[in-house]
């Protein structure tokens, strides 16, 4: 009881801070300096139609690299944490109720479509809403579907790891290329900006976003696979 009261008390204090923020908040009517710059210069500078994507991939590319790294790191650590809990060969396999026919058929039908859609989302990240993360998550959801269908299914860890690793490496490499060939680390203008609004435009953004998509997909997959392969503690 005391702990609840204390929690309420402390959160009331925190709430005061939030209330202060809330009450002191006056919505902008104009874009601020930074946002205005993006609105006015993104198209010319970077050639990306989706300003958010431009910000994510280029202006704040370092954040995104970090973001990708977070996923990579999480995947690695989850693998590390769960490494010991993998099913050991020789112990009796789990027995699970069979998944339904509906799920089987549905997944067979849907998985290619989902993958295709995911790829579409990240390839067009610089033009339309969406991008590498979203696309990657979609790709990974196909993996989830497969796992739901057959929980005992085993995936090639090496394959996933390779994709993950290579896409990451390329991402960093492109970043460094920006340093060498263009204005700085992760500058997308190492490639021609192309026609504004077309698929092959905005310099390296689509490539980077694709790499991010692949990487995110691979990482989520790897996490899912790892979690799925983990045995219940004996």
């Amino acid at each position: 009881m005391i702990r609840h009261a204390l929690a309420v008390f402390f959160l009331l204090g925190l709430g005061t801070v939030f209330a202060g923020l809330l009450l002191g908040y006056s919505p902008d009517t104009e874009l601020n300096l930074t946002a205005r710059y993006y609105a006015e210069n993104t198209a010319n500078d970077l050639g990306a139609a989706n300003i958010v994507t431009a910000i994510i991939v280029t202006y704040r590319g370092l954040d995104t690299l970090g973001e990708v790294t977070v996923l990579f790191l999480t995947a690695a650590i989850v693998a590390l944490v769960l490494a010991q809990s993998r099913h050991q060969p020789g112990t009796p396999q789990r027995v699970l109720p069979p998944s339904g026919e509906l799920l089987h058929t549905g997944s067979r039908l849907l998985v290619p479509l989902i993958v295709l859609f995911g790829v579409y989302v990240f390839v067009n990240g610089h033009l339309t809403p969406g991008g590498g993360f979203q696309g990657g998550a979609i790709v990974a959801s196909s993996m989830l579907l497969l796992l739901l269908t057959d929980p005992l299914r085993r995936f090639g860890h090496r394959m996933i790891a390779r994709v993950e690793s290579l896409s990451g490496l390329f991402y960093v490499a492109i970043g460094v290329l920006g340093l060498v060939l263009a204005g700085g680390f992760l500058d997308n203008r190492i490639l021609p900006l192309g026609d504004f609004g077309s698929l092959f435009s905005a310099g390296a953004i689509p490539i980077i976003y694709s790499l991010v998509g692949l990487k995110v997909g691979a990482e989520f997959s790897s996490m899912l696979v790892n979690l799925s392969e983990t045995e219940k503690p004996q």
């Binding site: 702990r3 609840h4 929690a7 309420v8 402390f10 959160l11 925190l14 709430g15 939030f18 209330a19 923020l21 809330l22 908040y25 919505p27 902008d28 009517t29 104009e30 874009l31 601020n32 930074t34 946002a35 205005r36 993006y38 609105a39 006015e40 993104t42 198209a43 010319n44 139609a49 989706n50 300003i51 958010v52 910000i55 994510i56 202006y59 704040r60 954040d63 995104t64 970090g66 973001e67 977070v70 996923l71 790191l73 999480t74 650590i77 989850v78 944490v81 769960l82 809990s85 033009l127 339309t128 809403p129 993360f133 504004f196 609004g197 996490m223 979690l227 983990t230 503690p233």
Partner: protein, 118 residues
């Protein structure tokens, strides 16, 4: 209008924190934190919203020339994406930890993991 969503975000944060501070079950705590994270994300996007404007994607509806007058602030949107991903990463990590913790003690009660103290 925007204050409402922001207030909702703050409320979610406080609710999440309350849950995290009062539930002893680790899984419940993790869920509570995701609620709080959602609240944060909600607050984040609320801040960038400008009344009566549209998404920051340049297309036919939003020509480059008067983009500055037509779009909302793209920065919070970019930030929230990052925040979401990071939140996701941490959640995954906590889940993995939760699994391991359960494995060692066969319990998910946070107050049972107090070998280290003082």
């Amino acid at each position: 209008m925007i204050l409402v969503s922001m207030a909702a975000g703050f409320l979610l944060i406080l609710m999440g924190l309350y849950g995290a501070l009062t539930n002893r079950n680790i899984l419940r705590m993790i869920v509570a934190f995701t609620i709080a994270s959602t609240g944060v994300n909600l607050v984040l996007v609320s801040v960038g919203y400008l009344a009566g404007r549209t998404a920051p994607i340049l297309d036919a509806a939003v020509p480059v020339a008067d983009a500055a007058e037509r779009i909302i602030d793209p920065v919070p949107q970019a930030l929230v994406l990052t925040a979401i991903v990071i939140g996701l990463g941490i959640t995954a990590l906590m889940l993995a930890y939760a699994f391991k913790l359960y494995e060692t003690k066969r319990t998910l009660d946070i107050s049972k993991f107090t070998e280290l103290k003082g």
